[in-house]
């Protein structure tokens, strides 16, 4: 019986290529990420880390194998059901931290609350998150006015809005300087220590070392 917040069992991901054999990204990968633990997917660029993270976030269906959220197989659920669950229980931070242009920092953080019309109720929490992540002074700024690190932290605040049980983070330190990167690593570590199951992808050694468990991609 699977009890971990996030579990992969024999996950294989292949992408079809026209006129050629399918490109195998991952084959028969299995691991668990328990609550309060940080798991790191390490490997060079193009090794499939982002594909695995998308599969764990329910954004991509694996070619074979299963992804479990708290014991529930995602393959047995509809995309809408997966999306809805992801909204409340899985925080996803993609590489680069995409923010919606034309919206302020605060509005970007509140976006997950819009479908359920809870923006008013979560407004204070969003501001607290931004303050906690050091971008509280940039509430009214537009994405194009933020630095790379600031955008990363705003996206992280958005991912943490509903206190998810699982946090999926893709290359959080890729475009940051050392100091900013260490700040993000410390933040992720604290989130994991607070009880969230965190899974990150990285080729930053400091981040790899900060993880509790690792999967090295070939």
């Amino acid at each position: 019986m699977i009890t971990a917040p996030l579990s992969l069992r024999d996950v294989t991901i292949r992408y079809p290529r026209e006129g050629q054999d399918d490109l195998t990204i991952i084959e028969n990968l299995s691991f668990d990420v328990d609550a309060g633990r940080m798991h790191c997917l390490a490997g060079r660029s193009g090794s499939g880390k982002t594909s695995i993270l998308k599969a764990t976030a329910g954004l991509v269906r694996p070619t074979s194998g299963s992804v479990f959220w708290s014991g529930s197989d995602l393959a047995t659920q509809s995309d809408d059901a997966v999306t809805k669950f992801r909204r409340r229980h899985v925080g996803y931070l993609d590489q680069g931290g995409v923010l919606i242009s034309g919206l302020t920092t605060l509005e970007n953080v509140l976006l997950p609350a819009v479908p359920d019309r809870e923006t008013r109720a979560l407004g204070r929490k969003a501001r607290d998150l931004l303050n906690r992540l050091g971008v509280g002074e940039r509430l009214r700024s537009k994405p194009e006015q933020l630095s790379g690190g600031e955008r990363q932290r705003v996206a992280l605040a958005r991912a943490l809005l509903f206190d998810p049980g699982v946090l999926v983070v893709d290359e959080p330190t890729a475009s940051l300087d050392r100091r900013s990167a260490d700040g993000v690593i410390a933040l992720l570590r604290s989130i994991a220590d607070a009880g969230t199951a965190v899974i990150v992808s990285a080729h930053d050694q400091n981040l790899i070392d900060a993880a509790d468990t690792r999967t090295v991609m070939a």
């Binding site: 996803y92 919606i100 919206l103």
Partner: protein, 952 residues
């Protein structure tokens, strides 16, 4: 180790250079697409308009004239339909209400300069009594001299397929009494035939031989035949009471002028022209029964029969060939058992010379035996008074030898007159009578049925002094050289016509009624339209109209003065539908008016369907008024199933139809052209404005690398020069292709000016970097972003230029669809509902439809292109929203809101313009046009939303 790839020096050289303005322009895909689409729309609009104009000109040139240009009627007359200032009925040409044009004025019109043909026309109505179209052939029975009494009953059913079928019953008793018959023999002077054959409807009959040749000899020789007819079988031919047309409408024309008027179809008048010399001629020969050469032969034409003395005072006519309603005739015969005393009392000899007569009504005391049906069939054209066809019903067991056609032709008796009242004996009685060009009134003061004094045909001679003197044809001699009190005109068919054969050189679109060429009306029966055939019984909705055409020369024989009711005038030297041609026609019309006549210009007219709601036919028939009470007009059981009050569709000429068609089609084309140019210009300006932001971003970079502002402006000017040059070429092409350059030139100039101004604005603004974006609104109010739809609206607001461009594109979609419907609905209305208007409208639909389709497609393509520009940004945003848990329904709401922020104002603007335009075109088209525009815009919006939701 692989060899390094050979480098191309040219490629390197190209890569080392900064692209010039043309290359930079080529990379601005949106601008190129927009320019291409707008250019396509403008050129297509101009091409459509000029193509349509050319098609319209060709159509009008070929179809605007009928066979004549001006209808001349008596001064003060109004030939147009009451209450309608532009409708002319074909029957108006010979309508007695128009009055008559004196012959002197007819000649004046014919002598006017600039006239190609002046063709007068009139019409008379003449009774056709005395016709015997359905007869019962009763053979004489020497073994049973009688008197024999019988009852013949007739039933004629007519079914025109539209109105209630009608049945007319008739009945007549007749008696044949041979008790004093001595057989055919030479009669003494004053002696009467000792045979009685009488009917209860006033008919009395002499016997005739069955041998037609002998019969002719006997008949034409009267009772004093020099020959002794051989004994043999004899017959009596009883006319049966079957209703038939009792009034013949005969159109009178000048056959020579009519032939010229009809052009290629004028050959139909040749039989009249060839026989004009026989009109009113009393015959130069008297039939000589002893001369074998005088014996008429079946197939002899009128000239030959006249020379043989068979026909005298001929009135040659062309008869109308017409397909009549199906009818069914049933005749039954029953012997009557009449007490001898009753019969002998009923039959009386009139010793003064009249044949015996029976009192009207059924023979009193008669008992009818078993009736047998002796005939059933469709009498067809036999009921027409102008055909040789008859229905001769043989007595049961008897077969009548075939008779020559001329022996049975029933001739008319137009009003007879006493023409000997003022004659003076001719000095030389051997002078043969001929028709004179002079005619003088009958001095007795008698008048004919037309209220005119009868004319006397005279012969003109001159005395030694050269003076004309007129000698009456006195006495006028019959075939036996005996004086006649009256002269009957013998109407004789010499040819036939159908309304379709008298088309002249006009096309069906420009056709105007000639006065005798009316097609049978159509009747709307439910959802179907069917031709309503006439009936020779004279019953039904469609009486047969003009039955014959005769030459005006007959007028005097028929005692008709000033028979001309109208003149059809064709103006000479007219080619196409031009202002000059119309001015020529108007000039001739004015000169005719100066003569005191009414001149109605009919060129430029076209036939138009006019529905006439009629009441059901009255019970009183036009046919024979039955004297027998049993005769009745009885509706059949199918009556209830038929149309009670049918709508008959006639065709009248709509005057000015060509002008209506021209104005309607041209107006619609112009509206489409203006719409296309205005909309295209608006789109172009919007696309230009939407690129300002990108230029400003470029300017920031250029300033950062050290470009002065003047240099940046030159950079932008060079880029803007290319699309402007393209626009100038497009504008020139639009003007060159347009047929209304007086409108196109200023519009193109305005469009180019708008584009130039926008380019200047783009250069001026684009050369300055954008100001830093202002901070967002108060953070406390950030909670306003509460729904996915609001995110969509916010996204639209971040790109106002794009949103406006899309809104304009949606407006164009709306306008194009609304215009299509408005054009479809109002085009015909504006161009008129005549044949020409309908044709011109339908003809214009093709180029108009192409333009509307091109405009809609171009607008949709522009929408797609503009949307695709932000595809990359939008796709990344969609993925981010999906990643943070936005389900498909939420994403759809966002996309819908974003698209609607352009589509809704576009729809609203389109609706406003469409309503205004429709009100100006036709208020009845407002709702359909607005509905079509809204529906099309909604469909396009849905497609755009759907395409927006596609993610990588």
């Amino acid at each position: 180790m692989s060899r390094p790839r050979r480098r191309n020096k040219d490629t390197d050289a190209k890569l080392d250079r900064v692209p010039g303005p043309f290359t930079r322009f080529r990379r601005r895909h949106l601008r190129i697409v927009a320019l291409s689409l707008i250019g396509l729309v403008l050129v297509a609009a101009s091409f459509m308009q000029s193509t349509s104009a050319e098609l319209l000109k060709q159509t009008l040139d070929a179809n605007w004239r009928g066979d004549y240009d001006i209808l001349v009627t008596a001064g003060g007359s109004t030939p147009l339909v009451d209450g309608e200032s532009t409708l002319l009925s074909s029957s108006a040409l010979t309508n007695a209400a128009l009055g008559h044009i004196p012959s002197g004025q007819v000649a004046q019109v014919e002598g006017l300069d600039g006239i190609d043909v002046a063709a007068p026309i009139g019409e008379i109505s003449t009774p056709t009594t005395g016709t015997s179209k359905v007869t019962l052939i009763v053979p004489l029975d020497n073994s049973n001299p009688g008197p024999r009494a019988y009852r013949a009953t007739t039933q004629l059913s007519i079914d025109d397929g539209v109105t209630a079928p009608r049945t007319i019953n008739g009945s007549v008793d007749f008696v044949v009494d041979q008790t004093q018959w001595e057989g055919f023999r030479q009669l003494a002077d004053g002696e009467h035939v000792r045979i009685r054959a009488s009917t209860t409807d006033g008919g009395t009959y002499a016997p005739a031989e069955t041998d037609p040749n002998v019969g002719i000899d006997y008949y034409y020789s009267g009772y004093s035949s020099p020959r002794q007819p051989p004994p043999g079988e004899g017959i009596v031919m009883i006319t049966l009471p079957v209703p038939a047309v009792e009034t013949a409408h005969i159109v009178l024309v000048d056959a020579e002028a009519e032939k010229r008027l009809l052009g290629d179809a004028g050959d139909v008048m040749d039989p009249l022209i060839d026989t004009t010399s026989l009109i009113g001629t009393l015959g130069t020969n008297v039939y000589d029964p002893t001369d074998p050469d005088d014996r008429p032969v079946d197939g002899d034409d009128l000239q030959t029969l006249s020379e043989k003395g068979i026909v005298s005072n001929a009135a040659p006519v062309l008869t109308r060939t017409v397909e009549t309603s199906p009818s069914a005739l049933t005749v039954q015969l029953a012997p009557l058992d009449v007490p001898p005393s009753t019969l002998s009392g009923a039959l009386t000899w009139n010793q003064t010379g009249d044949n015996s007569m029976l009192p009207p009504g059924p023979i009193e005391g008669a008992t009818a035996g078993d009736a047998q049906t002796i005939y059933t069939g469709d009498p067809g054209d036999a009921l027409s008074p102008l055909t040789f066809d008859t229905v001769d019903i043989n007595w049961p067991g008897f077969t009548m030898p075939e008779q020559p056609s001329y022996a049975r032709f029933p001739y008319f008796r137009p009003s007879e007159s006493n023409i000997l009242s003022m004659v003076t004996p001719m000095a030389d009685s051997s002078v043969q009578p001929t028709t004179s060009t002079a005619s003088i009134p009958d001095a007795t003061g008698a008048t004919d049925a037309h209220g005119a004094a009868p004319q006397v045909s005279l012969q003109s001679t001159s005395n030694d002094a050269g003076e004309l003197q007129f000698n009456a044809l006195s006495p006028i001699l019959d075939r036996n050289s005996q004086p006649l009190d009256t002269v009957e005109s013998e109407i004789w068919p010499v040819g036939s016509f159908t309304p379709q054969s008298l088309r002249g050189e006009s096309t069906s679109l420009g056709q105007v009624g000639l006065g005798y060429d009316d097609p049978d009306p159509t009747v709307t029966n439910g959802s179907e339209q069917q031709i309503l055939p006439p009936s020779w019984s004279g019953l039904g909705l469609n009486t047969s109209g003009a039955l014959a055409i005769a030459d005006l020369e007959n007028a005097s024989s028929w005692h008709v003065t000033d028979p001309v009711s109208s003149i059809r005038v064709r103006v000479a030297g007219i080619d196409g539908y031009t202002a000059d041609a119309q001015a020529r026609i108007l000039d001739v019309a004015n000169r005719i008016r100066d003569l005191g006549l009414t001149a109605t210009v009919v060129s430029g007219s076209s036939l138009e369907a006019v529905p006439v709601s009629l009441l059901p036919p009255a019970d009183e028939t036009q046919g024979t008024e039955a004297t027998d009470d049993s005769a009745q007009n009885a509706p059949t059981p199918e009556a209830d199933e038929r149309t009670a009050a049918p709508v008959v569709t006639l065709e009248y000429s709509r005057l000015g139809a060509a002008a209506l068609a021209s104005g309607g089609v041209s107006g619609t084309n112009l509206a489409l052209l203006v719409m296309a140019i205005v909309a295209g210009t608006a789109l172009l300006v919007a696309v230009q404005l939407s690129s300002i932001a990108a230029r400003r971003t470029d300017s920031v970079v250029l300033r950062q690398i050290g470009w002065p502002r003047a240099r940046i402006r030159r950079w932008l000017v060079a880029e803007e020069a290319i699309p402007l040059a393209i626009l100038i070429v497009v504008g020139a092409a639009t003007i060159a292709l347009s047929a209304v350059r007086e409108v196109t030139i200023p519009m193109v100039i305005i469009s180019l000016g708008a584009s130039l101004l926008t380019s200047a604005l783009l250069i001026q603004r684009g050369a300055h970097p954008a100001a830093p974006p202002r901070l967002g609104h108060d953070a406390a109010r950030a909670g306003k972003l509460r729904t996915p739809s609001r995110l969509g609206l916010r996204q639209a607001a971040t790109s106002p230029a794009t949103t406006v461009t899309l809104a304009l594109a949606f407006t164009l979609v709306y306008l194009a669809a609304a215009t299509a419907i408005a054009v479809l609905l109002t085009g015909r209305q504006a161009a008129g509902t005549s044949r020409l208007g309908a044709f011109a409208t339908a003809q214009a639909l093709v180029p108009q439809g192409i333009l509307i389709t091109v405009t809609i497609v171009a607008s949709c393509v522009l929408i797609v292109v503009v949307r695709r520009l932000g595809l990359e940004r939008r796709t990344a945003q969609l993925e981010a929203l999906h990643a943070m848990g936005w389900q498909r329904t939420h994403l759809r709401k966002t996309a819908i809101a974003e698209v609607l922020s352009s589509a809704a104002p576009g729809l609203l603007a389109g609706a406003v313009f469409a309503v205004i335009g429709s009100v100006l075109l036709s208020p009845t088209a407002v709702l359909p046009a607005a509905g079509a525009g809204a529906l099309t815009t909604i469909v396009v919006t849905a497609v755009v939303v759907r395409s927006s939701l596609r993610r990588r």
